[in-house]
Amino acid sequence: MADRPDTSRPSGSNKPALELHVPEPKYRPGDEVDYSDLDIPAPGAQPRPDETADPKDMRELAYGLVRVLGEDHQAHGPWDPKLDPDTLRTMLYNMALVRAFDDRMFRGQRQGKTSFYMKCTGEEATSVAAAMALASDDMVFPSYRQQGILIARGYPIVEMINQIYSNKGDKLKGRQLPIMYSSREHSFFSISGNLATQTPQAVGWAMASAIKGDSRIAATWVGEGSTAEGDFHSACTFAAVYNAPVILNVINNQWAISSFSGFAGAERTTFAARALGYGLAGLRVDGNDALACYAAQQWAATRARANAGPTLIEYFTYRAEGHSTSDDPSGYRSAQEREEWPLGDPVMRLKRHLIAIGEWDLERQEKMDLECAERVKAATKEAEKNGILGHGMHHPFHTMFEDVYEELPWHLEEQAAQAIREREIKWPEGRPKS
């Protein structure tokens, strides 16, 4: 074998032996966590360039961290979006509702009401606040951890639960794995299990909007792990080449299932800095600071609407829970990471800000939390009337064959007839009532 080392060569050659670097996270289960070396700049310290700025002049923002909310719970600096108290309260409510929803759906999966669920705990600001900075008809191409966008856009939570339960009320007819929502009415693109495929699609949608002289823009969300997919590179290239009115949001929550962000390249650079090589504007943002998330998205939206170009935003955050209901993070990371995470919790930080500016109090917070929990509970009961997974209350059999094509071709007609024959063999007396 020509590519094997030459063993006839005497050892002790003066050429150094090569070494493969395999990244390793700092902390594994049981390790003491120390984040003191993490470089976290002070809130308000980052400049806010004009939305039409040349990416070359924004280099610092791709390596820094845009922050607004300080330890004093006040908003600081030029990135403060200066939102009115009602908007802030709506933001807090949406984030609290997402959290209440996640908690109940996670429990629903454990109770066997559905097969699967994924929480977004700790990342609520990256979807809720960002979505609130867009127009309601701007098109979003999310990954599977942006349920906050649907909530912020007022999608009925009963419909979300119907989808999760794959019941007879499920608008996607039980075809999709739980949480792979779709709602054209809410300009929310159909979620795919295949990672990062939505990123060039978002760019294509934005190109279409530009081709038609429309004023709507597109935004897409992708995890830091999925930025390693080829699609993400295509998306960045096409976005830059055609100056597409698109926002590429990268949620850097440090973990891609069990692989830490080092396996997506985080040891050597930031994800926002990738923007620079493509000639995109790049912003790196405190993902647990709802005001910073809103401000960055708003900046990028204004830029896109002005035909000034696409933006890549990295939200620096932490995936506080397991990857999914099928995952146990205690098998690969220290439980202390979540407790020690220096950017805190996005819901708590926004709550404290509202209290600090005199627009909120603990009593109202308690009432709101209760209301969110009750609202989710009521929606769950409502959805359960349409059935839960595996209890027979699903869409009619024939729907399995529909929508593969616009019209049913002969071979699917034949297979549909076969499926119905199988049902008759299985239940000669007719299907038992569930």
Binding site: R175, S182, S192, T197, G204, I211, S234, A235, D403
Partner: protein, 352 residues
């Protein structure tokens, strides 16, 4: 444009022109760009330059560079943005320069375009037509000769269309562009300029001597899912598509075999009725394709004919295909399922 108005040109106000397959494809794109402002043509070198095979020549100049434009060299990106454009409501017609290079776009085609209507319960559709030159016989070697149709016929949600004449190329392409399902439109590049008999050592016939090169001006459609009866016959049925339609026809003419040749034109959805009617009449079925044999589309055709026409068959179904090797360069004509391989198979199937 090399076509010219034919002598018997004007019938019911429809003018006809002689076209080769490139002209016919160009004409179909031109007509659809004109008729539907949502049609967008994109791909590597398709814009200013007009395509490496000239299929998009003149289109950018006529329709503007936001309707017909060049893309980065990224098949994943080309298909991916086309899916997004479809979700917006456009009708993109992306080109992949060679079918051999469609693989980087497969995830977008298989996981996204093909499934979008189904997974979103019609919230979103992917009405794209992916055009791509395919097939061998041009000394294209491993990466300019492949026939990967079976990869796509195996994907539920995709339609696969392969024309074999200028007339069909135009009518089928217009249908594909108007179809609301994603269509893979493979153009046999060996017959872009003329039908190919399989005799590589004889001069190439131009399209202008072929009756199917008379193409109507303007808009017309050939429905997807309908085969074309190339020749009527009683002795055996030959199922073919693309270049192999012409090779099979030449061999049968030469051998004096009264074969019924069906040009399938659309592989999915397949014209099963035409196939059944023909095989029930002839009792013998031969399948011809350039693609490699194992798990090729011929296997699906053979299985269908065997399942559905078993009691009419007087001989085993024969498959004449490329060999199960990568497409070779120097040994192209030993690989290509040409007149000798087809003739041998005909002798075998008629012996029983």
């Amino acid at each position: 444009m090399s076509g010219q108005v034919s002598e018997a040109a004007i019938q019911d106000g429809v003018t006809e022109r002689r076209m080769n397959m490139i002209d016919a494809i160009n004409d179909a794109l031109d007509i659809m760009l004109e008729r539907d402002p949502d049609v967008i043509v994109l791909g590597e070198d398709v814009g200013y330059f007009g395509g490496v095979f000239r299929c998009t020549a003149g289109l950018q100049e006529k329709h503007g560079k936001t309707r017909v434009f060049d893309t980065p060299i990224s098949e994943c990106g080309i298909i991916g943005v086309a899916v997004g454009m479809g979700a917006y409501g456009l009708r993109p017609v992306p080109e992949i320069q060679f079918a051999d290079y469609i693989y980087p776009g497969l995830d977008q085609l298989i996981s996204e375009a093909a499934r979008l209507r189904y997974r979103s319960a019609c919230d979103y559709i992917a009405p794209l037509t992916v055009r791509s030159p395919f097939g061998g016989g041009i000394f294209g070697g491993q990466t300019h000769s492949q026939s990967p149709e079976a990869i796509f016929t195996h994907v539920s949600g995709l339609k696969t269309v392969i024309p074999s004449t200028p007339y069909d190329a135009k009518g089928l392409l217009i249908s594909a562009i108007e179809d609301n399902d994603p269509v893979i439109f493979f153009e046999p590049k060996r017959i872009y300029n003329g039908p190919f008999s399989g005799y590589y050592d004889k001069p190439v016939e131009p399209w202008k001597k072929h009756p199917q090169s008379i193409v109507p001006e303007g808009y017309y459609k050939i429905p997807l899912g309908k085969a074309r009866k190339v020749t009527e016959g009683d002795t055996l049925t030959i199922l073919a598509y693309g270049t192999m339609v012409h090779v099979a026809e030449a061999v049968c003419r030469e051998k004096g075999v009264d074969a019924e040749i069906l040009d399938l034109r659309t592989l999915v959805p397949l014209d099963i009725e035409a196939i059944e009617a023909s095989v029930e009449k002839t009792g013998r079925c031969m399948i011809v394709h350039e693609a490699t044999r194992t798990s090729g589309f011929g296997a699906e055709l053979s299985a269908l004919v065997t399942e559905r026409c078993f009691y009419h068959l007087e001989a085993p179904v024969e498959r004449v295909t490329g060999f199960d090797t990568p497409y070779p360069h120097s040994l192209e004509w030993a690989y290509f399922p040409g007149p000798v391989r087809i003739g041998d198979a005909i002798d075998k199937i008629l012996k029983d």
